[in-house]
Symmetry: C2
Subunit: 350 residues, 2 copies
């Protein structure tokens, strides 16, 4: 058993190694077709609250993210670039709680978090609490590739993004009146709660009663390299510089060629307490579960037992995907084998 | 194999559960004697640079932290309270890079990070980038017990600590002229580096050439409950709101009665990329390694292969401890079975 574990570590580090010899060839031999899987948030997403037009808008936005990312993979681009491209589409859409569609903090600001990880090198980058970076996922990528650090926060992270020449916007770029009204409603509720703090998952600005948060993508490229990324606007009415799981490597995002790439969405505190993304990878590495079995164990058993809501998407080096959640719905989809983009919303979607 | 894993999950959740029935009795039956293990940072710590007086000062400070924490355990107090008490002693000492002895950021500030986790409930709390909380570990504890969140950052975390009535100090409380001179030396070096950013582990203000960082403690109490905590001043000359592994649950700190408690110290970025603390727990849970075997695999193989420096201390529910590091030294020690506090500094210490 232990010897087998040691063998797995060796494989892991050969794959993670920078040298372009055995490890890359081996990766190519082992890898499946290029594959991309995304999510646009898990939560209270119910068919009875959704109009056909809104459903269509969500499917269209997800298909666009998938097609843009998959084109990069199909042309021989890297999994890291595909993840960034897919997430940027969702950050630029007002439909999702990330980038443009971010929810409001207690102070009426939009504070954005994002992270990315490269499964080949185990390099990672994350930003938390940025208010003026148009695409937080690009800031996370710059941290990974242009700094000695993994995680930068607040004004410091913004300054770094500015120095790296990333697109900076006025914070009003993130203002959305429907999401702002949601904040005001929550604060009214809080006033009547006898001092209890009320935070909530993002409420869909277009769909009554719908709550969800966070976008993410996981990709497998032609070289057999896996990457994963996650981006979020956090929770409505969050305060005190609260950070959820999205920028936490091991909780909201993890990638290792030897096991899998994972991006999570849901009530972030539970995902941090369980190290959800890393736990799925560890279950594959040490208990030899498949990615879908591992995701099922962590989301449907551990997370559910602890009382947490949400889900993950992920894939392994053979292109096997997982899209597992314990909430009513999760915006999600994938492309593989040059097929059409397949997208889903509710629990019972085929 | 899979059935055995499911069995382990069940045990895990029974232990993590809030109910005071089977799980707590089981914990008591399974648990060893109360035990406390601490570290005061790992890094370049060499005997040839150390005077007998300085050695004695470090041993004395660690023994004080151990004795204060162990007294709580011996009197039937909780592992959480013992961890806080031991860490507060080290935060209050100028010898360690945490609290009072924190190093300086590029802007000449002291930005402190800390985290704590309760292995019985899997509750956790963390603060990052606080500048005026005397004992950051108490702020992490308040986040765990008094908020809905796990991680608070920057000014928001300070505001929360103030509202919770924690001891607030003027930032000048953390000023230490020797550590400040280290910052100025690094910045001089940076000027001559052609634009390369130079960050370093904390340099010992009293011992030439000595570099290390972070303090931590892991405890097992009479009820068989494990807790772990970590506190740091980060790296000298850090900028951009950089956050290391100390406040990251799963990287610098993890605790679960079903496996172990871990507190890490070293070059934080590597510890985040490997989810070090959670990986040790996962290796125990899924590959059935002992705590010492698991810590050895992660620190001496994975971390070393990736090029990272540092170490961990930890213990399991039977009171087995680990103190594993791949650097020249690690300030470390433990008490168990009502014995005297045992403390160590160098690699070759018995």
């Amino acid at each position: 058993m232990k010897n087998f574990c040691l063998f797995l570590y060796l494989i892991s580090f050969m794959a993670a190694c920078d040298s372009k010899t055995t490890s890359e060839n081996q990766a190519k031999q082992q890898s499946g077709d290029v594959t991309l899987v995304i999510h646009g948030g898990a939560g209270t997403i119910r068919k009875e609250n959704m109009s056909p037009e809104k459903e269509a808008a969500y499917h269209a936005a997800m298909k666009q993210a998938l097609n843009v990312g998959y084109a990069i993979l199909d042309e021989g681009g890297t999994s890291v670039d595909a993840v960034i491209a897919a997430i940027k589409v969702m950050e630029d859409s007002p439909l999702f709680n990330a980038g443009r569609g971010a929810v409001f903090t207690n102070e009426g600001k939009n504070e954005l978090d994002a992270s990315i990880m490269d499964g080949r090198t185990l390099m990672a980058g994350a930003v938390a609490g940025v208010t003026n970076v148009k695409n937080p996922i690009t800031a996370a990528h710059a941290v990974m590739t242009k700094s000695q650090h993994v995680m930068l926060t607040g004004r410091g992270a913004e300054q770094f993004a500015e120095e790296q020449g990333l697109e900076i916007v006025d914070p009003s770029y993130f203002f959305d009146s429907t999401r702002y009204k949601h904040l005001l409603r929550l604060q009214e509720k809080e006033k009547n709660s006898g001092g209890l703090s009320v935070v909530q998952l993002s409420e869909d600005p277009f769909v009554k009663g719908s709550k969800f948060g966070t976008v993410g993508a996981v990709a497998l490229d032609k070289s057999g390299n896996i990457a994963a990324g996650t981006s979020t606007g956090g929770m409505t009415n969050k305060r005190y510089g609260r950070v959820g799981d999205a920028p936490i490597i091991g909780a909201g995002t993890y990638a290792n060629n030897a096991t899998c790439g994972i991006s999570a969405t849901g009530w972030g505190e539970y995902f941090i307490r369980l190290s959800v993304a890393h736990d799925i990878a560890a279950m594959m590495e040490y208990a030899h579960l498949s990615i879908d079995e591992a995701a099922d164990s962590v989301i449907m058993k551990k997370l559910t037992t602890l009382g947490g809501d949400g889900g993950v998407v992920g894939l392994d080096q053979q292109g096997n995907i997982t899209m597992k959640f314990n909430s009513d719905g999760m915006y999600r989809g994938y492309i593989k084998e040059r097929g059409a983009a397949k997208t889903f919303i509710y629990k019972d979607d085929p």
